[in-house]
Symmetry: C2
Subunit: 386 residues, 2 copies
């Protein structure tokens, strides 16, 4: 096991009817900006529950944070924050609303010029301060409710970039599994696959003798495999929704990643597919991961075999045969959730692969647990998924 | 799954050579009281490492916090805190030093009279404030380094009582697995069994459809079963020490217990064996747990069978035969660690059982996940272990 530091002070309030607890969690004496997305919270009753809990508080609203939240939208929100002098941000929505709100919170107190520097390039200046945030999660997927990560897109340049800072960890996050009841199939499927790949990024690398982290990662994978299809089949199965929701949070609150190598190349490559084609984040992961497993089968052999055996019960055959079966089972699970896993199913051709290769070459991108996945290897991985 | 709230802001600093990081974690500008136990930190070099990291800080020392830390000793420490006006407590040691220091920290700011009220009886007044604490852990076992729990004994009345408060969660805890290298067999064995039973208290109850919590609990149990004997056999196996240390912390930082019923009767009964006979805490748990499993086999049937199958691979026979085998394997593991599991091996007779029964009857004690383990059932459980 590697040395590590871990601190996660997010207060989780989990369960049925917990949105009403907002009243005791948001600060009084400061104006609150409530952020949300495209309006699903008006249809599922969450907006009304939140507004009821916030009666008597000074609240301004900022709606319209889109999936793959953009720098452009966040900068508009920042104007409202400054004009209204809001001292607390309450994000109500899924990972996109939460990520966007984290960026707004950091940008509001950023002292190094254009907030785009938070996300990009050599000038990246670390975020040490941010407005305090609380969240009401309506879509289990990204884990953003219990970490300090945020991913932001820039429409004008077709870029998708990320930052992480303890300063943007939510003070509290309210997770009511009943919010899952009204999600469309597509968002359930995306959420399950997103959480699944978050675990894989922290697990499917090389062994460093960290058996507890391995088993906790496997615990989440197994639970997502069991509960995901239940949620898809019966949206009002509260127990399945709750298990899915808690698994998605645990998948990316930092705990399974302590003391072990991490990959994140699937995300790095996937972000480009979203940037160029607008493909849903989780779907890009479902495309890339099988290619990464296939092309990096030697480097990841020990962990792929362990994953295949413990999660899918694959124990027979040569290592390569077992790896093939394991990739097929993984792809099969994504497809079972209704998610296509090849580029051609999304209309992506070799020309996009070329653009991504060029961009990574220009940026000297090196990804993966060994920092050896470069532009050329990215081409190989994506070509495997055509 | 039940509704739950979870917040654990303890900063964990884990790994080889991390004691030096104290310098950046303790506050400057206030006097620090460094607490420790019987002096093992002088033999294993930890004292020197801590003092070196604290060079330039204003430090007063309080040594001599005993195993099963007493109210009497803590009250002496409290006098030093008041006289020296210390603003930060640094606990260097195992669970006893940490628990004692938590009580001192709470007592220092307690406003309801005699601090014994923090621990006892109807007048128990909640702890909402405490001096800030940091810890350097030298003995993996209790999990005290990442929770707000503390257990204190009172010599004069042969009582052992506990309290819990978020106010006494450490600001940081430094976990260097190399501190395990110099532990005697007895403390390694105790630590492994203590952590094991902490998991069982949160796991071996009844199913509430919380598969992730179950699997995470099983992950810790399995890791302790694998790594515990390795540590016992080779004290300088760093990897085994690290895996043991992290498992013990994860066993009682609250995470596996969210949203599920909890038992804690083994601890409740075990504390009485320590109070009356001074038996090491972990050893009392190794005595009581098999009795509890045997006597509560119907109430706990589903979870005992799951535990037997997933941890010990027991799948054949009638439920009762499988439960018998599962109890035998559990007891066998404790004995493999060198810990006797029957009362007679510790010279405890029926007369002590009578005393415990009477005390619980007087207190109207009701324990366990169903709050139905009373004084009479306690007699039955202990008699099973004579």
């Amino acid at each position: 096991m590697y040395n590590f530091e871990y601190k996660n002070p997010v207060k989780i309030i989990f369960g049925k009817g917990t949105i009403a607890k907002l009243t005791g969690e948001v600060p009084s004496g400061t104006k609150i900006m409530m952020t949300y997305g495209g309006g699903s919270i008006f249809k599922n009753g969450v907006y009304d529950q939140v507004k009821k809990a916030l009666e008597g508080f000074d609240v301004v609203e900022f709606g319209g944070i889109e999936a793959n939240p953009t720098y452009e939208t966040c900068m508009k929100a920042l104007e409202v924050v400054k004009k209204e002098q809001t001292g607390f941000l309450l994000a109500v929505g899924g990972g996109s609303v939460l990520d966007g709100t984290k960026f707004i919170a950091a940008a509001a107190l950023y002292e190094h010029g254009d907030p785009w520097k938070i996300l990009s390039g050599e000038e990246k200046a670390p975020v040490t301060r941010a407005l305090p945030i609380g969240t009401v999660l309506t879509l289990p997927a990204t884990g953003s409710e219990m970490n300090g990560n945020s991913v932001i897109s820039r429409t004008s340049t077709q870029e998708k970039m990320s930052f992480g800072s303890a300063a943007v960890m939510p003070r509290f996050s309210i997770l009511d599994p009943e919010t899952v009841f009204t999600l469309p199939d597509r968002q359930v499927a995306n959420g399950v696959v997103d959480a699944f790949v978050h675990v894989m990024e922290q697990y499917l690398t090389f062994p460093v003798n960290a058996p507890l982290q391995d088993r906790m990662a496997e615990a989440i994978l197994q639970t997502l495999i069991e509960e995901g299809p239940k949620v898809l089949a019966n949206r009002t199965d509260y127990e399945a929704a709750a298990n899915f929701m808690w698994s998605a949070t645990m998948a990316l609150n930092g705990l399974i990643g302590v003391g072990v190598p991490q990959d994140w190349a699937t995300h790095g490559i996937g972000h480009e597919l979203t940037a160029y084609h607008g493909i849903d984040h989780a779907r890009t992961l479902a495309i890339v991961l099988p290619g990464l497993m296939n092309i990096r089968r030697r480097e990841k052999e020990a962990k792929i075999l362990q994953y295949g055996e413990r999660i899918w019960g694959i124990t027979d055959g040569t290592p390569d045969a077992r790896i093939d079966q394991t990739i097929a089972r993984t792809t099969g699970f994504f497809e079972q959730m209704g998610i296509p896993t090849t580029l051609s199913e999304y209309g992506v051709t070799d020309s996009t692969i070329g653009k991504i290769e060029n961009r990574f070459a220009r940026r000297n991108t090196l990804m993966g647990e060994n920092k050896d996945i470069d532009s050329r290897l990215t081409r190989t991985i994506l070509t495997d998924r055509l």
